[in-house]
């Protein structure tokens, strides 16, 4: 079966195409060259110059796993709102709070309705990976994948404190990718989640861990090198120490230097870009951070933009979330230590535009977006649901593309916050081409999805069709058509066919001998057997809908 999208105005940065009008042919779920004249075209969509991009890829969104599910349980207040509205019937703006913790079905539906065809869960606790995959497996419409958290697990910290060689670390990292069926490695507050279990309340980059006598810097060095040497595409995903603390920008700057030039991705950098200036001792350090990102070509970042409204923050960083629990709204939170592996902290927040700190957080995120020069190295995220639900992406895109709209929003902020931000001096407006880079081409390249994020021959036919219009929020909220693996699944913003996507993984080679030591550790200290920790392809596919796509990288 061959489908053709005629007269597509293609925005495909992976191939340098910015508005090239062409026809796109789809066969068996893939984009193909123009078929020979005697082949039958089964389906024709004349797009009449509508904008065509690859399906968008969210490289950092908390869509499944223990802390996400706790977030769903935590706020029955949302459930009251659910009954009054029709979640299936609309796409939420930033203040539509009940979508901060959507169920798995709504997660898939809302993503595909916006033209997103993949989302990556960035914080899979290795020991909780089975649950994360169950939830992602129950998420329809989109492809999924995840990054396994290391760097606070006692196994790695023991290795580092015993001066294990890099090869052992590499083997352990590769083993973890296999065991957890993930495509990247994340470190959250390196050493800090573990230190919290020893009653430490802060962990600085060069501060020795009180038990293991190693620094977060050492953890970052070891893990960034391991990720690089096992040869996977996705650089180490780093949630820096000192999340959310006034003055933390210095930690963030120092962290950029911790990998000795090996690629690292610093996530939700907005939450790590705070200075200490001003009467309130809380200021924007966006300029310092952006300058450093511009200079350090081995660094990529995603923003973690906040938008105003009710949300629930869910993080592996129980050390910092335990502090944040003091400002929870509503006043409740869940803090967990988990299996000598990691932790989590789930804290509801209500971001308010008249609150000085919240207003400045909003401005800091946008300042970073507008001050980092290279759209290939900065990614559009709200750290869903921590800064805002992913359903607010169209609104965020308009803030980036429309200076007037952005400045009008700025004028409504807390006045003290306005006085502390240079946002209005930033004239930049993102182009469609730049938006396509940061939401398609760059995330695919970063994660190593060679056949996604672009519209070249051989690519998976994950395609989104938009009507170009001045209101970019409206444009990106409701695509005309969305194709998933070549099938038309969304028409005029509504799902017309349910499909189930796949789970993307990477499985680099490693020395199996490491498993002997890991098994011994499990037998000595764990409450489960090692073989039960490992997740098989069959188990991912167990209920018959999901399947694993493994990527050969390096």
């Amino acid at each position: 079966m061959i489908t053709v999208l005629k007269n597509a105005k293609v925005v495909d940065p992976a191939h340098g195409k910015d508005g090239v009008v062409q026809d796109i042919y789809i066969r068996d779920g893939r984009i193909v060259a123009r078929p020979s004249a005697n082949e039958k075209i089964d389906e024709v969509f004349d797009l009449n110059g509508k904008i065509v991009m690859a399906g968008a890829i969210d490289m950092h969104s908390h869509i499944g796993g223990g802390k996400v599910n706790i977030a769903r349980m935590l706020l029955p207040e949302y459930q009251e709102m659910r009954r009054m509205q029709e979640p299936e019937a609309h796409i939420c703006g930033p203040n539509c709070s009940h979508h901060a913790t959507p169920n798995t079905t709504d997660t898939g539906m809302r993503y595909i309705e916006m033209g997103y065809t993949a989302a990556f869960e960035p914080a899979i606790l290795a020991v909780n990976a089975r649950q994360a995959h169950m939830e992602m497996g129950d998420t329809p419409m989109i492809d999924k994948g995840g990054y396994a958290m290391l760097g606070n697990d006692d196994y790695l910290l023991r290795l580092l404190s015993q001066n294990a060689d890099q090869k052992t670390i590499n083997d352990y990292v590769a083993w973890t990718l296999h065991a957890t069926q993930t495509i990247g490695i994340k470190v959250v507050n390196p050493g800090g989640i573990s230190a919290f279990k020893f009653n430490e309340r802060r962990q600085d980059l060069d501060q020795l861990h009180s038990y293991y006598n190693i620094t977060p810097r050492r953890i970052l060095q070891a893990l960034s090198r391991a990720v690089n040497e096992v040869g996977i595409a996705k650089p180490l995903h780093v949630h820096c120490n000192n999340l959310g603390v006034a003055g933390n920008f210095q930690t963030t700057l120092d962290t950029m230097g911790a990998s000795d030039g090996i690629p690292m991705h610093l996530t939700h950098i907005q939450f790590h870009s705070y200075g200490l200036e001003g009467d309130k001792k809380f200021s924007s350090a966006a300029a310092n951070i952006a300058e450093a990102v511009n200079k350090n070509k081995h660094i990529t970042v995603d923003v973690g933009q906040i938008l105003f409204g009710q949300t629930v923050t869910a993080s592996g960083d129980n050390m910092m979330q335990h502090l944040n629990a003091k400002v929870a709204n509503p006043k409740k939170s869940v803090i967990m230590d988990i299996e000598c592996d990691a932790g989590c902290g789930v804290v509801p927040f209500k971001y308010r535009d008249q609150n000085y700190v919240n207003a400045l957080q909003w401005a800091i995120g946008l300042e970073i977006f507008l001050s980092v020069d290279d759209p290939w190295r900065i990614f559009l995220t709200t750290d869903h649901p921590n800064g805002a639900p992913f359903t607010s992406y169209p609104h965020l895109i308009r803030l980036l593309m429309d200076k007037t709209f952005r400045n009008e929003a700025f004028d409504k902020l807390n006045l003290d916050a306005q006085a502390m931000s240079n946002l209005k001096t930033l004239e930049r407006e993102y182009s469609l081409y730049e938006i396509a880079i940061m939401t398609r081409a760059a995330p695919a390249k970063l994660i190593g999805l060679r056949d996604r994020g672009h519209l070249g021959e051989g690519a998976a036919a994950d395609i989104t069709v938009y009507t170009e219009q001045p209101d970019k929020e409206a444009m990106f909220a409701t695509p005309d058509l969305v194709f998933k693996d070549g099938q038309l699944v969304v028409k005029e913003g509504k799902v017309v066919k349910v499909v189930w996507g796949a789970t993307h993984t990477v499985k680099p080679a490693f020395d199996l001998a490491i498993e002997r030591d890991i098994k011994q550790y499990f037998d000595r200290y764990h409450t489960m057997q090692m073989h039960n920790f490992k997740i098989s392809n069959d188990q991912i596919a167990e209920d018959g809908r999901n399947h694993v796509i493994n990527h050969t990288q390096g």
Partner: protein
Amino acid sequence: MTQLLNAMHTCPACGLLCDDISSDAIARQQLGCGKAAKFYARSAKHPSAQINGRAVTLSEAVKAAASILTQSKSPLVAGSSTDVHGARALVDLSHATHASMTHLNASSTLRNMQVLQHRGWQTTTLTEVRNRADVILMIGTDVVSHNARFFERVVWVDEAMFTHASQRKIIYLGGDDLNTQPGVSPDGHAPEVIACAAAHLPEVVAVLRALVLDKPVTGTQVAGVAVSTLKALADTLKAAKYATLVWVSKDLHYAHAELTIEHITETVVALNQKSRAMGLSMGGSDGDTSVNYAHTWLNGVIIDQPDWESHDAVVWVNSYSPDAMPPAGAAPVIVLGASDSEFTTPPAVFIPVATPGLECDGQMFRVDGSVTLPLTAAKPGDLPSLRDVVNQILTTLEQGALA
């Protein structure tokens, strides 16, 4: 395939999910716990489906079940004693029939959920306790009545990374008919037992919380417990490197017991201002955690309390409790359950399904919530899975709707 690779099974008979059960031990019926012994001794009694106690074919029973559900204005999916895969199937069935969904353990599960939703909590998991806990306070429970191997697998272990396992301090605070013997350390050190009836725990735990917060407490006794004893307990908790406060929701079964649990969890929150402590909710069985969690991610909300009066048909799943049935008078009942179900009155429809972990594979959450384990069929059989049967019912319902 999993069976060929390892002969170890995971036991779903309680929330502890011990995953060291060898095929050999099952075959020789040498199991270290009564619940496991009973579970693995189960054998099929009703191999075929029934309508009103009369043996019928599977397809006849499926048709009868679909017919009841079609006629029902307000069905209830209940019991729900199954694993994650079963829970997914039941959620699908509840969507298709607009049924409410509840669980055998709804009252104890929701007692915990009320605390979570009101204040949240600070909790830990079994491997953390195993390696860190130096003080374990058991409040209103001995745990072993629910999780027989708790001390063997978590407390009195050979090695712990950050503490001396055999020197842990075990304290029992209140409860009825506790078995405190497992709290005796391997070198014979007896646990501290602060006795009070479970019914008095609300005031005793409230005073403990106040003492941990350094609030003034007047009086010398509360419910027969000396305040000085509780003060010493508060000091012990504050001095601990990793105090673990354990409760079992099922053991706190009096009106507003959620307030007692909240006093426990808020005591933990108070301790964590300066030292380290965590809560640990134990018990759990019949797949309650699995069903509540899967229900939450599939629907966005936790399971409901049963309200038997307002439903005119019940789908009952009892895979881990073959003797459990809905309250008398709930009719008609469709049992999709254990082949060794025990009925006093035959249900309208009975379809035997494979029990995950006994007759088919599956996946289940451990009671501490973060760990999910695969279940393997210890005695593989021919029975259909709950998913298979639900799919057949759904297909019949769709065909009926089209007809």
